[in-house]
């Protein structure tokens, strides 16, 4: 136990974050039914997906189509009715710190200071207080919150709370980062700032990201690939590559290629609506 830890802190000392080992996600004919016994409905219907290690994939779809259910299933919070999900060949059957989940509304512990919220995952692993606080402080610096260590979550703005949330998930060195409309409750300016911040972090740690959103601009700005889901029960409508150069900046959203893909997404989103 102590040896890998020592090695890890050595690598930390040279670079702010040692490379995580990104995970490969394989979803095979996944169906999920949700709701109470007497009123169960299918949220996902025989979905097949492959997400490569280190890929940034955005999931787009009409609201209520089952995007969040898909994330919950990959996280291990929602059980599959049929089919299976495997991460690096291992079937998902329960939540695990290697698959970090970030929601739209923060789930920080209100009774813990920011630094202890971030260090929580390491505390659960039995890492000593000094070591986990040191790592947490580094991650807080990475998300631009150095100096806010001893604040309580309630003393932070919505955008800052989401940064703490991201830092708390990252301290577990997740193979997969699952984000469920994490910036949905933020104002437009803060949201763009957070998107840029997320891309900067991702450029440093290269974990696999699955990012659910209903905002086409956000999906195209962030993702390598955009998966378009249909209305409930959700199935895959389109798998669109986003070949825009990185690092992406505000100007990326006005490039011809961006506008072209956005037009395609818009028409795809409109089509199923016309059919029903």
């Amino acid at each position: 136990m102590s040896t890998p830890l020592a090695v890890r802190s050595d690598t930390r000392a040279s670079a702010p974050l040692a490379p995580h080992s990104p995970g490969r996600i394989a979803v095979r004919s996944l169906s999920v039914e949700v709701g109470p016994q007497h009123a169960r409905f299918a949220a996902l219907h025989s979905l097949d997906l492959d997400i490569a290690p280190g890929e940034f994939v955005c999931v787009l779809g009409p609201s209520g189509c089952g995007k969040s259910t898909l994330l919950g299933a990959i996280a291990g919070h929602v059980a599959a009715s049929r089919g299976e999900i495997a991460v690096d060949g291992v079937a998902v059957d329960r939540p695990h710190p290697e698959r970090g989940l970030v929601f739209q509304q923060h789930t920080l512990f209100p009774w813990k200071r920011v630094i202890d919220n971030v260090a929580f995952g390491l505390k659960m692993k039995g890492v000593s207080a000094a070591e986990r606080r040191r790592e947490a402080a580094e991650l807080l610096a990475l998300v631009g919150l150095a100096g806010f260590e001893s604040h309580y979550p309630a003393q932070l703005s919505g955008g800052m709370q989401q940064r703490v949330e991201i830092a708390r998930v990252l301290i577990n060195r997740p193979r997969i980062l699952l984000m469920d409309e994490p910036f949905g409750a933020l104002d437009a300016q803060t949201r763009r700032m957070m998107q840029t911040l997320l891309l900067d972090i991702w450029a440093q740690i290269r974990t696999t990201v699955v990012f659910v959103t209903h905002d086409i601009d956000e999906a195209l700005f962030l993702g390598d690939r955009v998966l378009m889901l249909s209305q409930r029960p959700a199935s895959l409508v389109a798998d669109i590559a986003v070949p825009l150069a990185r690092p992406r900046r505000d100007e990326s959203t006005t490039e011809a290629a961006f506008v072209e893909i956005k037009r395609r997404c818009l028409s795809l989103l409109r089509e199923p609506a016309r059919a029903t």
Binding site: A75, G76, H77, P95, H96, P97, R99, G100, L101, F103, Q105, T107, F109, P110, W111, K112, F120, G121, K123, M124, K125, G144, L145, F148, Y152, A154, Q155, L156, S157, G158, G159, M160, Q161, R168, V169, N172, T190, M193
Partner: protein, 286 residues
């Protein structure tokens, strides 16, 4: 930096929102304290006036009530009596013992019942039947069940304090955000750590409310408990004064119990506030 701007912006809105409700408190805490002391003085003055004028309101009459002018010399006498420290020590010990036992049992049971439906179904029906039974009805059984009168008296104060603590703990555990529990699990939290890291701190504000009420009800049961007593205790002093028809001393005993109960309740509340500093912060966001 925009993050800093963010925070200051938030602070401004928070103070603006809080301003109307806290206007009185913010103006001058000293003046507010003076008002509160004045209110007690006014209450005593009204009492004195009611007795002095033989105020009679048809169904209630103050004609035979001891006045503050009678009670204050009695209080003075008691304060100089060598028996007071023994009365106080006996009562405080009984209340503290009953309260501490109730705190341990109430919080432990509450944490378990609040988390597990099966335990709730198994334990709550008998507890709900025991709850409305007044402390005075427990006296005969308390005497039969315990080897010493001292333990019987502690049991009565325990009964008084138990239910507010138990019910507030259950309520607090029920109210813990299930999203926080799911998040903790996702971050690798085991069953035991879930209690210490999430359930207990999440329920803490409600538990301290229960402890503060429980401290009050423990004192509330003191006279009942010390009806069993032989020699010492503020409750015993009050009860004895009644049997000796020493009316001024009854009032002194009542006032002492009131002041001690209020003081210890306030102390528990203060300790709770000190241990849950985040709780004051919840406001606009949460």
């Amino acid at each position: 930096m925009s993050a800093t701007l963010d925070l200051t912006g938030r602070k401004h809105t928070a103070t603006r929102e809080a301003a109307p409700t806290n206007a009185l408190a913010c103006r001058s805490p000293l003046r507010r304290r003076a008002w509160r002391a004045g209110s007690i003085a006014l209450f005593v003055a009204a009492w004195q006036a009611a007795v002095h004028c033989h105020l009679s309101l048809g169904i209630v009459t103050f004609a035979n009530v001891p006045s503050p002018a009678d009670a204050i010399p009695a209080l003075w006498a008691l304060l100089h009596s060598p028996r007071l420290p023994m009365h106080l020590a006996a009562s405080v010990t009984r209340v503290l013992a009953g309260f501490c036992a109730a705190a341990i049992v109430g919080v432990a049971l509450g944490l378990a019942i609040g988390r597990y439906r099966a335990l709730e179904d198994m334990l709550m029906p008998p507890l709900e039947i025991l709850r409305p039974i007044p402390a005075v009805a427990w006296i005969p059984l308390a005497i039969l069940m315990f080897p010493s009168t001292e333990l019987s008296m502690m049991f009565i104060t325990f009964i008084g304090a138990l239910f507010p603590i138990l019910l507030n703990t259950i309520h607090g555990v029920d109210a813990v955000d299930p999203r926080l529990v799911a998040t903790a699990r996702g971050l690798g939290t085991g069953t035991l750590s879930l209690y210490t890291e999430v359930v207990l701190p999440g329920a803490a504000p409600s538990i301290f409310t229960g402890l503060s009420i429980g401290m009050g009800t423990a004192w509330f049961c003191l006279v009942t408990a010390e009806m069993i007593a032989g020699q010492y205790g503020i409750g015993y002093f009050t009860w004895e004064s009644y049997t000796l028809q020493n009316y001024a001393d009854i009032v002194v005993g009542m006032a002492l119990i009131g002041v001690l109960g209020m003081g210890s309740s306030l102390l528990v509340k203060r300790i709770g506030a000190a241990l849950t500093p985040w709780y004051r912060l919840r406001g606009a966001r949460q």
